[in-house]
């Protein structure tokens, strides 16, 4: 009696599982199809938007990508386009403008962006300016937090009357987080990444990020306690804060200490593609660990980039990730643009405008003032203040957390979006404009870099110069140097290995080598050996058959 019943049960269970698999299998295919179509639209529209902004408005393509997102987002065109069998092209998903899958790809893009930003940072310069960077980051943080929180308290009829009100605290912390990504890309586009201002902005933004997240953790703790009607538990806040700061300090130090050992171990694979992929994998790993430690993922990616930036692999990784970057990063900015919901912003427009203006002043003053008091002149301080101006993904993520946890309402969420959009849209053109003109450093601090020797060799023709340049590059690669071709008008190569770095430039029939004095021996010796090897080549051409004979061999029989 029992047996058939048992068999029946097993059958039923099996059927249920099969149905579930079928159902989920179907929906996954469906979801992916929807996602792929979304990505197709995003990539094409973002790229074209970026191109149009760059070409006709002379603005960075970032802005075009953001604007494209606003146009095709669920609150604009995207919400109106109905795909047969799939539904709306871009639908709002639980108060979020992007589906989880799409947001996942945008997150990956933000990790690549920050990983490359870390890689491009000249660490020697970073350490030289990091004291300034920390003051810049801290100044911006304090000004932004106090002004954001204070405005919420001062504004009439919004029900917020205490500096410790959770919503006020959130308005403070949302206006803190600078989005280094947008600034980083502009710095890269304008080749200002390694400038003192660029390094200070990136260093400041790292402090800003870490301190911003620590502030968020503290605010979350305080908000929870005050929402429960209790008193603030300082012990817990201390633990969360210590964890966040500790992660950054310890992991960065470890990364710097072990980067050389890690890269020499990875180099055993001999294939650049494998090496680059593993390094990127490590960046993702650290990003995940950062998130687990209560920091943002982008901080982990940035730290990994920073740790690898001092190794000779940095340029190889940058070079190999360039293609991925060019496709994925516009998706990130486009998705950010899609998050903008114009209808939610209407009732809170005036408050949003004042909040945005204060957000601008808080960073320009809060970051510019410490910069001015240390190494920079007015021009440099303004560049740093403007560089720290854009709030982006972190501000939106924090606003999302606030909305999800019920601390802020839809209106304040709208204000946060407005501030993010305004600062993000204002910063690029202002930043680009501010970088026109001379040095941003105080006069007494200009120059002082290590001495560079220029070796110039002139050859009878451009062909011979080109030929020797290639021979020289091959000889350098045989000596295990990494040679990286830069996309500039003149053929330029960066040569790297451990601490040695120099550039080769072909200028017509001249070959120019710019090398730090300390490394000139190796450059000169390898150049000499290659010049001497030309004599072998000349000797061997004498052994060739006569050109006439070779020519007639080639042509004979063509006209029978």
């Amino acid at each position: 009696m029992h047996e058939p019943a048992a068999t029946n049960l097993v059958h039923q269970a099996g059927e249920v599982a099969a149905h579930a698999a079928e159902a989920s299998g179907h929906s996954i295919t469906h979801m992916m199809m929807h996602l792929i179509l979304q990505l197709a639209v995003i990539i094409i529209v973002a790229k074209i938007g970026g191109y149009l902004f760059q070409r006709f408005l002379k603005m960075p393509s970032v802005l075009g990508e953001l604007a494209s997102g606003m146009v095709i987002g669920p609150y604009a065109l995207g919400g109106m386009i109905d795909l047969p069998g799939l539904g709306v092209l871009f639908a709002e998903n639980a108060g979020f403008a992007a589906s989880a899958e799409l947001y996942g790809i945008a997150t990956l893009a933000s990790i690549i962006l920050l990983f490359l930003a870390g890689l491009e940072t000249d660490l020697a310069a970073f350490l030289r300016y990091s004291v300034v960077g920390s003051f810049v980051g801290l100044g911006g943080l304090v000004f932004a937090f106090v002004l954001g929180d204070g405005l919420a308290v001062m504004w009439p009829d919004n029900g917020i009357d205490s500096f410790m009100d959770p919503a006020a605290l959130f308005l403070g912390v949302i206006s803190v987080a600078t989005s280094v990504g947008i600034t980083a890309r502009i710095l890269a586009e304008k080749r200002k990444m390694a400038s003192p201002e660029g390094v200070t902005i990136l260093a400041g933004a790292v402090f800003d990020d870490v301190l911003g997240i620590v502030t968020l953790a503290i605010v979350m703790g305080m908000a929870k306690v005050s929402m429960d009607g209790g008193e603030v538990n300082w012990g817990e806040i201390g633990i969360i804060a210590a964890k966040a700061v500790g992660f950054f300090v310890i992991v960065t130090s470890l990364g710097l200490i072990f980067a050389r050992k890690i890269t020499s171990a990875i180099k055993k694979f001999k294939s650049t593609e494998i090496i680059v992929a593993i390094c990127f994998g490590l960046a993702l790993l650290l990003a995940g660990l950062a998130e687990m430690a209560g920091l943002a993922m982008i901080i982990g990616a940035y730290i990994m980039g920073l740790a690898l930036s001092r190794t000779d692999l940095a340029h190889e990784i940058e070079h190999h990730l360039e293609g991925v970057y060019n496709i994925l990063v516009p998706i990130f900015f486009c998705v950010m643009g899609m998050m903008v919901d114009f209808s939610v912003m209407k009732p809170v427009l005036v408050f949003g405008a004042v909040y945005s203006i204060l957000a601008i002043f808080s960073k320009v003053l809060g970051c510019g003032l410490p910069a001015f008091l240390t190494k920079f002149n007015l021009r440099g301080s303004l560049r740093i203040g403007l560089g720290m101006l854009p709030r982006g993904e972190v501000a939106l993520i924090i606003a999302g957390i606030g909305l999800a946890s019920g601390i802020i309402d839809q209106g304040i969420f709208g204000v946060s979006i407005m501030m993010t959009v305004i600062t993000t849209m204002l910063a690029p053109p202002l930043l680009v404009k501010s970088f026109e003109g001379g040095s941003g450093l105080r006069k007494e601090l200009e120059g002082g870099s290590e001495e560079i020797e220029t070796i110039i060799l002139e050859f009878p023709s451009r062909d011979i110069t080109e030929f020797l340049l290639h021979r020289f590059i091959r000889a350098l690669q045989d000596e295990e140097f990494f040679v990286h071709h830069l996309h500039t008008d003149q053929p330029t190569h960066r040569v790297l290995k451990d601490d040695i770095a120099f550039t080769l430039i072909q200028d017509g029939n001249k070959l120019q080598v710019n090398v730090p004095s300390a490394n000139q021996h190796v450059a000169r010796m390898i150049l000499l050996e290659e010049l001497l090897s030309l004599s072998d080549l000349l000797e061997s051409t004498k052994q060739m058959k006569g050109l006439d004979e070779m020519g007639s061999d080639l042509m004979s029989g063509l006209f029978a």
Partner: protein
């Protein structure tokens, strides 16, 4: 770069005896043979002399860097020797050479071969450093001086 990986106490010598360019090269190669670093003496000598024919490796201020490429060695072989009396090495400035840095590297294999020469040259780039090297009395002293930095 780490010179300890390339140099060893039995490939640095304070007491090279030969008094000619050819003699110095042969003596260094012979000593590398007895140190067990080289087995094909003739092939190595041919490679070094072939390079000398193109252009003398006698540099300036008493430094010479005889070197050659041959598949008679599987990895970089290097030696540093002194002849304090000085030897005519067809140097660029015509001065006799007292410090000899020799490298023999494989023809096809990749590696920091010239970089080794460059690193040692850089270490003795300044007169004070060359004087310190020439003041060495034992093989070990040279080894310590070059690899201690």
């Amino acid at each position: 770069m780490n010179l300890k990986k390339v140099l060893s106490p039995n490939t640095v010598w304070v007491d090279l005896k030969a008094d000619s360019k050819q003699g110095i090269i042969e003596e260094m190669v012979d000593r590398l043979v007895s140190a067990g670093k080289i087995s094909e003496r003739e092939a190595v000598l041919e490679a070094v002399f072939e390079r000398e024919e193109k252009m003398s490796t006698g540099m300036q201020n008493g430094v010479a860097i005889p070197h050659g490429k041959t598949d008679a060695v599987k990895s970089l072989v290097a030696a540093v020797g002194l002849n304090k009396a000085g030897v005519d090495f067809d140097s660029m400035d015509g001065l006799p050479c007292t410090i000899f840095i020799m490298t023999i590297s494989p023809l096809k294999r990749r590696g920091p071969h010239m970089q080794f020469l460059a690193e040692v040259s850089r270490l003795i780039g300044q007169p004070a450093e060359r004087e310190k090297l020439l003041a060495c009395q034992t093989h070990n002293e040279i080894y310590e001086l070059l690899t201690g930095k």
